[in-house]
């Protein structure tokens, strides 16, 4: 009974804490990756090094997030051995596209080179 009450309290807290101003990327990506050894920043650079262009990167990332496999993962074997492959996302296509677009805009190198 106590366990259920704590769980309910936590869910409510998370639900209430989640600001309505947070975007799809902040809501769905940051919370988990915050505790991952592979930062979103490093992962972006890995994706960029592998897929080069905006369209190909976004498309590949979307396919992976919807159906993550060891084969498609860019992480090394040791990482996968320790942390396994992530679960498939439950976001719909629109939400997923929005999150990926924000991710791209945030880490796109073009605007940062001078």
């Amino acid at each position: 009974m106590f366990k259920k009450a704590v769980t309910l309290f936590l869910w409510l807290t998370i639900f209430l804490m989640a600001s309505p101003k947070q975007n799809a990327y902040e809501r769905n990506c940051i919370p988990c990756h915050r505790y991952q050894p592979a930062s979103l920043e490093k992962l972006f650079m890995e994706y960029l090094k592998t897929f080069s262009g905006e369209l190909s990167l976004k498309e590949s990332l979307k396919i992976f997030l919807k159906n993550p496999t060891e084969k498609d993962s860019l992480m090394n074997d040791k990482f996968i051995e320790n942390f396994s492959v992530k679960d498939a996302t439950d976001l719909n296509d629109t939400e997923l596209d929005k999150a990926i677009d924000i991710y791209w805009d945030l880490y796109d190198v073009r605007s940062k080179l001078e």
């Binding site: 960029l48 592998t50 897929f51 080069s52 262009g53 940062k112 080179l113």
Partner: protein, 403 residues
């Protein structure tokens, strides 16, 4: 009697010279084109060699830039980052979709599918990356083109091409002389023959004409009168030819003695001279002459008028007409003869050229006319309609007019 080569061969020499010049011009044009083609091949081979040398240098630059990009990629902070630059080259990176990531090229007209190429005054080299550092699939390296090779190549082309052209032109000149020798010999043979004949014609023709003039035709029967008229015509025809040949071989190079000539009187005299000849073909003259004077050599203008009238008779039809119009600035002689084909109109003044091979003559009359016309800077216009007739119009220049 043989006549040695004299000034009369000048006309031959000028036609030979003109043929020689035409051949030589054609030969030089062909040789120049061949040398230009060789020059282009040489230039292209030198350019390929330059590209090959530059390719090695640019590949080294590209490898250095890849290392720098790799380092930047691995340490990218996602704040402001300085794109790696090198004093020896400029570079640009494009992603797999051909979108620009960063560029410090002078010339951004890049070509993705050509490894090395020239754009403006720069050389550009593209390297395809296996690892897309900073998302770069294409790395372009640009350097300013060193044009020393081009100056050296052009200098070689001009120097060796020019020398070869001169040598080949000298060879060509001698070859042409050898090739033209048979033609020259045959023309000289014809000239010599004409000169020899001319000298042999003078005495008998003069004797025939003088005696024909002296004969009392009133005591002759009509039949004999006709025969005498025919002798007169034949003798005058030969005399006209003799005068042309004499002019060509002897008088042509003499100094002109220009004086004021009453052209109306001269034309009437010459028409009278040709009346019997024209009468043999029942050709009539229609004269429309104004009084006017020309400052010209009398022998020469007489040769011009004689030849034009003689041709108008020679190439006229039986019962034809000859119209002669004299105005203040031109004289026009029109016949109702066989006419000249339009494509041959320009050739009538060439020596030994005849309108029609059925008529006799050497084809020198109009050549003489042209040489006199040119000497006095006059203009002659020929208009002709086949089977209808020919009009020869001489326009007088200020130099010979009384103005």
């Amino acid at each position: 009697m043989l006549v040695s080569k004299n000034k009369g061969t000048n006309l031959l020499r000028s036609s030979e010279k003109s043929s020689l010049l035409r051949f030589l011009a054609l030969y030089i044009i062909l040789v120049t084109m061949l040398l230009l083609l060789l020059g282009i091949f040489y230039y292209e081979s030198q350019e390929k060699l330059m590209f090959s040398n530059q390719r090695t240098i640019l590949l080294n630059h590209a490898n250095k830039q890849v290392k720098a990009l790799k380092s930047l990629h691995n340490n990218f902070s996602h704040k402001r980052e300085v794109y790696p630059r090198n004093p020896y080259f400029r570079s640009a990176i494009y992603d797999i979709e051909g979108k620009l990531i960063f560029s410090n090229l002078k010339n951004n007209e890049i070509i993705f599918d050509k490894e090395i190429y020239r754009t403006g005054n720069c050389l550009q080299f593209v390297k395809y990356l296996d690892d897309y550092y900073l998302g770069a699939k294409y790395l372009f390296i640009e350097v300013d083109e060193d044009l020393t090779w081009r100056d050296e190549t052009m200098s070689n082309i001009v120097t060796f091409g020019g020398l070869t052209l001169v040598v080949l032109a000298i060879f060509g000149f001698f070859f042409m002389r050898i090739f033209l020798r048979p033609m020259k010999n045959s023309i000289m043979l014809l000239d010599d023959f004409i000169k020899d004949t001319t000298h042999e014609l003078n005495t008998p023709i003069s004797a025939i004409l003088a005696n024909v003039e002296m004969m009392d035709i009133s005591s002759m029967t009509q039949k004999n009168q006709k025969k005498l008229a025919r002798i007169n015509i034949a003798a005058k025809t030969v005399s006209h030819l003799y005068q042309d040949l004499t002019y060509l071989t002897l008088s042509h190079n003499r100094e002109s003695t220009d004086e004021w000539i009453e052209m109306k009187q001269l034309i009437e005299d010459r028409v009278e001279y040709f009346t019997i000849l024209a009468g043999s073909k029942k050709i009539t003259f229609t004269l429309d002459l104004e009084e006017m004077t020309l400052f010209i050599d009398t022998v020469k203008i007489a040769r011009v008028i004689d030849n034009l009238i003689s041709n108008a008779i020679k190439y006229n039809k039986r019962n034809g007409e000859i119209f002669i119009v004299l105005r203040q600035n031109y004289v026009e002689i029109r016949d109702t003869g066989i006419g000249i084909e339009s494509k041959k109109v320009n050739e009538v003044f060439e020596r030994y050229s005849r309108f029609n091979s059925s008529e006799g003559g050497f084809g020198i009359g109009l050549n003489i006319v042209k040489s006199i016309i040119d000497e006095y800077d006059l203009k002659i216009r020929v208009s002709s309609v086949l089977s209808e007739g020919t009009t020869m119009k001489i326009e007088f220049s200020k130099g010979v007019l009384d103005v």
